[in-house]
Subunit: 273 residues, 2 copies
Amino acid sequence: MLYFIGLGLGDAKDITVRGLELVKQCDRVYLEHYTSILTCGKEELEKFYQRDIILADREMVEQDAEEIMKDAETKEVAFLVVGDPFGATTHADLVLRAKEKGIPHKVVHNASIMNAIACTGLQLYNFGETVSLPFWTDSWKPDSFYSKILKNRECGYHSLCLLDIKVKEQSEENLVRGRKIFEPPRFMTTAQAAQQLLEIVENKPKSDSGIQLRADSLVVCVARVGADDQKIVTCTLQQATQEDLGGPLHSLVIPGELHYLEKDALNLWKSNS
Amino acid sequence: MLYFIGLGLGDAKDITVRGLELVKQCDRVYLEHYTSILTCGKEELEKFYQRDIILADREMVEQDAEEIMKDAETKEVAFLVVGDPFGATTHADLVLRAKEKGIPHKVVHNASIMNAIACTGLQLYNFGETVSLPFWTDSWKPDSFYSKILKNRECGYHSLCLLDIKVKEQSEENLVRGRKIFEPPRFMTTAQAAQQLLEIVENKPKSDSGIQLRADSLVVCVARVGADDQKIVTCTLQQATQEDLGGPLHSLVIPGELHYLEKDALNLWKSNS
């Protein structure tokens, strides 16, 4: 049996009671660690589960899924995912592959940023398409997410922006030389995201229909949603470039039309109040 | 302290380890039971928590929130919500009121249908606005949700349709006579939802821009998401009126544009395969 188990958003104790029972009885336990992270490390999880954990990076999950599914017809294998197991496309793909191979599987759901973002007071049903903001480099500055944000805004929807994570990056030199030396992990902050957005806004201010995002548009910055030291700040896009919300993970919300209850909620998070 | 604790989607064991620890230490435990239900009853939860549970209906939560928040400055009070605490607008309102009163509160997130619907293989970031389908009566047949579905479709987005729940309904006669006698709970099935949608589709087939939903459009019917006997069926809207997915809760998805991985996933749930 292959179990896809969501770990939720905070630390070890955010797994469900059902999930914990299953992990404890598994023969092998994998932890996907490239699309999200918990506030605690592998060692703390191992202690809590009383099980060794095998870290599964993108390479393993996308190219060596056989390894993960090995013997799952007869053994109990757990594949742990921070948030909900279906937060990322790649895991839905893994479920499909298990189904095709006739490997029985079960899913244990949990909170993900996709629903927990409602802690801001913004209503989930008012969110449009979720967008991903990649780290820019000097030569690569993609901005296709911006038109999605404008499209959401045009419909009155809020946009949840998921911010880039680089956990097993190679420098260009190491990549060229084929050296498996990895850079320290990087997690995009709301300040960095706001800086990139601001640069786009300054260069192409309006959509065809006149919808725009401006330096003084309201944004909601969140950090470590679901953890004890969760932080939420409502400010302008310009101000967001200066807000320091501390450690990862961060996300940014661009609100659309606001219901009066949503307005009240966002006022609670004004940085100067 | 007022704890807002999500219970997830299946039964008692879908609470998180953190959530369970908190419930066990609370002086009073309320269970919101009008926006959603678990597959287990109050008694099973009480046994699992080793705590008495006070059922909180809509009237109590919306009009008598004082009662729930009473003494929460000094006592530990848990407010349990099936799914995630912020699934319904009314709970966000409760958090706001607690904040205004200076009552400290904490939130324990969990899975909700808003993220667990990804178990269908449809990607969460491709969902547009979530819509609610109310039970029709002979004289009241609202259809404003239909234009939202078409708007989502126009953008290529999937629509998650949450289906009506009536848990503390009075007959017209009992209402008029002021008798607090309540009808048995009702939960809309995907078949009922499809029937209502079909009726709308037949009467107003197209949006201004030519987007339409048809009797042979693909829909995804889901029941008891997250529970052991979860069911998913991909079929046409017409066929959905005949599909029996068993006990509550049901939801319906109207897919928008499909990625090839999403197509593969939906094919797994074809009722004749």
